[in-house]
């Protein structure tokens, strides 16, 4: 099993919008750790973060946390992201990715197929991206 720390809300840099591509956007995986990782209280309770437990070892998800090579000013921190609106949830988990609502569980378990279906290429935002969180 692996545990992913997911960003639910896009960060923006008003001073330098081009850097928004280098900041975490909604659906980006911040970090992947082995099952049972001792997440801190901050990580478990930050409203705009969620922890997903997924079958598989962390190395098998390495492609989801790769960055674009730093060869242009608007390079992407993540080449892949998760379309959180398309994650397959059970009814009771449907609000799991709403950062305006309190989380019901510290770690939410999802099936591998849900992650794979929701994975998509991250889009580049010229001059900034819109916070869709």
């Amino acid at each position: 099993m692996a545990e992913m720390l997911i960003s639910l809300k896009s960060k923006t840099n008003a001073a330098e919008p081009v850097k928004n591509n280098q900041l975490y956007q909604r659906g980006d995986i911040i970090v992947i750790m082995p099952d049972g990782h001792p997440w801190s209280k901050t990580e478990r309770e930050t409203p705009e973060w969620r922890i997903l437990q997924v079958p598989g070892d962390p190395e098998s998800f390495a492609s989801l946390v790769r960055a674009e090579e730093n060869t242009r000013a608007d390079w992407l921190r993540r080449l892949k992201t998760l379309d959180l609106e398309h994650v397959i949830w059970s009814t009771e988990q449907k609000d799991e990715f709403d950062d305006q609502k309190p989380r019901e569980k510290e770690v939410s378990r999802v099936e591998l197929i849900s992650v794979l279906v929701a994975t998509k290429d991250r889009e580049r935002a010229a001059g900034g991206v819109i916070d869709i969180g």
């Binding site: 970090v31 190395e59 390495a62």
Partner: protein, 573 residues
């Protein structure tokens, strides 16, 4: 002043359990927020990562900046044995960050005004490019890597861009064959590598360059940096000075040295074990020729203050020995767990009482001394072996050897360069063919008979041999001879008495008496048992027997039994 937001990072009750989540929490625009963010890593466990930790996207300036470092007491440079721990990645000595996936670098910095310091960072020995650390800020980036231990298995494990600086860090490339130690991409004026050690350990095939600069300005500066284990110091022209290497290709600076012996410069340069602390001068190290840089490298990778006049080149400063005292004013001082090394010129002394070394062998290297500047040095309880040409000497007072035999090997002397050597109190035996000699002054033998075996001489090669105070006897039992091989045998100053039946003879050649009168007492013969004798006197010859009988002649010749001068009669043929 900005608000300093310090967060702890670790897996035991810290603010964040991963460096990535700490970085994700950093305010995007630190200048507007007027914040400085400091992440302090704790060595609760090794930071294993499957994705490159990126510090990027933030807006910063000189004071609203980002620092990633270790918590108090958490770095290898805080370890109690930091001065003696091998210099290489070892998470048991401090915070370590290690990748576990292929194609995964460890840390990448793209925001400006970021400092990463005091960490150990290592990448996995897996496929794909995976840099240990990349400092990639654009323009005047003000990114600094400080006091880092970087280990990688792929070419160019450390990457610097534009004006990033790397100081007091060690880069260890564990790659055999083609590959460089460091990549400097588009360096601008202001880019700096200072006080760093860049090595490929011994046992790996030497190739590539320690520093690769494929593009950018040659004004990029390298100073006080040691590069070993590569074909070339650098693959392009760079500026700087006071660098060291085993190769001189593109090594900058008139005061750099590009012909040093790799094996002598570090505690252990092997790939299997490795310890890239600089070797001190007593151990053959040659790196003490750097130039002071109080701005960038006032201290070394573990915080040791650099020498103010001649610091060591590389990330490691060998501290100058000071007059420190380990003392036990009462009881005893116990040193356990590691070797204690005495530097050349320093003493283990007991100003009063005694110094006791027990439990293990003490080895004295060649030219080192065990000395007692006052009083005496006592060696008891075990054999002391002196190798050839070594001395046991007493420059003043006396040297006492007791309790066992002392053997001098052939060709070695017991000598007194001044004064005399005195042997007292017991017999001194000289074995056959050995000599008692004095090249100057005199040799005195007293109290016992001295016996010369057959075939040996009492001789004075110059001057004279003097026998005084008692009779010297030549014992009968063969033809004892007083010989002068050349020159004369001279008997002067007193009468010589030949007892009856004794002869003055010339067994071969002739017996010559010249220059003085020869007086034959009554009843004695001048004879030639074989062949002839010659008596030559300038005026006259007197044979004394009966008064009035004199023979005037200039010479008397006679053969055996035929020529004799006898009492009162001449029988001359």
């Amino acid at each position: 002043m900005p608000t300093v937001i310090t967060k702890s990072i670790g897996t035991t009750g810290r603010d964040y359990s991963t460096i990535a989540s700490w970085e994700a929490a950093i305010t995007a625009d630190l200048v507007t927020a007027d914040e400085q963010w400091v992440g302090q890593c704790y060595n609760d466990s090794e930071f294993t990562i499957t994705a490159t930790i990126i510090i990027g996207g933030q807006t910063t300036d000189a004071t609203r900046n980002i620092i990633l470092e270790t918590g108090s007491g958490q770095s290898f440079r805080d370890h109690a044995d930091k001065a003696t721990n091998p210099l290489k990645y070892d998470v048991s000595k401090g915070v370590g960050v290690r990748t576990t996936s292929n194609y995964t670098g460890a840390i990448q910095v793209t925001s400006r005004y970021v400092t990463v310091r005091y960490l150990q960072i290592k990448t996995a020995d897996l496929g794909g490019s995976n840099r240990v650390i990349s400092l990639e800020g654009v323009g005047d980036s003000a990114i600094v890597g400080d006091s880092l231990i970087c280990e990688g298995f792929k070419s160019e494990p450390v990457f610097l861009f534009t004006t990033a600086k790397l100081i007091n860090s060690v880069i260890i490339l564990r790659l055999s064959g083609s590959g460089n130690g460091f990549r400097w991409s588009y360096p601008l004026s202001g880019a700096l590598i200072a006080g760093c050690t860049i090595v490929r350990p011994n046992g790996l095939t030497i190739a590539g360059s320690g520093i690769s600069r494929p593009n950018g300005s040659s004004n990029a500066e390298v100073k006080n940096t040691a590069v070993f284990g590569f074909t070339d110091f650098a693959d392009a022209t760079i500026s700087g000075d006071y660098n060291a290497s085993d190769d001189a290709t593109n090594i900058p600076g008139a005061n750099s040295n590009g012909a040093l012996t790799y094996s002598q410069q570090f505690e252990d340069y092997s790939n299997s074990t490795s310890d890239f602390r600089a070797n001190d001068e007593a151990g053959g190290g040659d790196l003490k020729f750097g130039t002071p840089d109080s701005t960038n490298t006032p201290d070394d990778i573990i915080g040791t203050t650099r020498n103010a006049t001649t610091p060591w080149v590389g990330c490691w400063e060998v501290p100058a020995a000071a007059d420190y005292v380990l003392s036990a004013s009462a009881g005893s001082f116990v040193e356990t767990g590691s070797d204690a090394t005495l530097k050349h010129g320093y003493l283990v002394s007991a100003s009063a009482g005694s110094f006791v070394e027990t439990g293990s062998d003490a080895s004295l290297s060649a030219t080192r001394r065990v000395s007692a500047s006052a009083g005496s040095f006592v060696e008891t309880g075990s054999d002391a072996s002196l190798s050839t040409t070594r001395r046991v000497s007493a420059s003043a007072g006396s040297f006492v050897e007791t309790g066992s035999d002392a053997s001098l090997e052939h060709g070695y002397l017991i000598s007194a360069s001044a004064g005399s050597f005195v042997e007292t109190g017991s017999d001194a035996s000289l074995s056959a063919t050995r000599r008692v000699s004095v090249s100057a002054g005199s040799f005195v033998e007293t109290g016992f008979d001295a016996t010369l075996e057959h075939g040996y001489l009492v001789s004075a090669s110059a001057g004279s041999f003097v026998e005084t105070g008692s009779d010297a006897e030549l014992i009968h039992g063969g033809n004892k001879v007083l010989v002068a091989d050349s020159g004369l045998f001279v008997w002067v100053g007193s009468d010589a008495t030949l007892s009856v039946t004794r002869l003055i003879s010339a067994l071969a050649g002739s017996f010559v008496e010249t220059g003085f009168d020869a007086t034959l007492e009554h009843g004695y013969l001048v004879s030639a048992i074989s062949w002839s004798y010659t008596i030559t006197v300038p005026t006259f010859f007197v044979a004394v027997g009966r008064p009035g009988r004199s023979i005037f002649t200039s010479s008397i010749h006679g053969g055996p039994t035929k020529s004799r001068i006898t009492d009162n009669r001449t029988d001359f043929q």
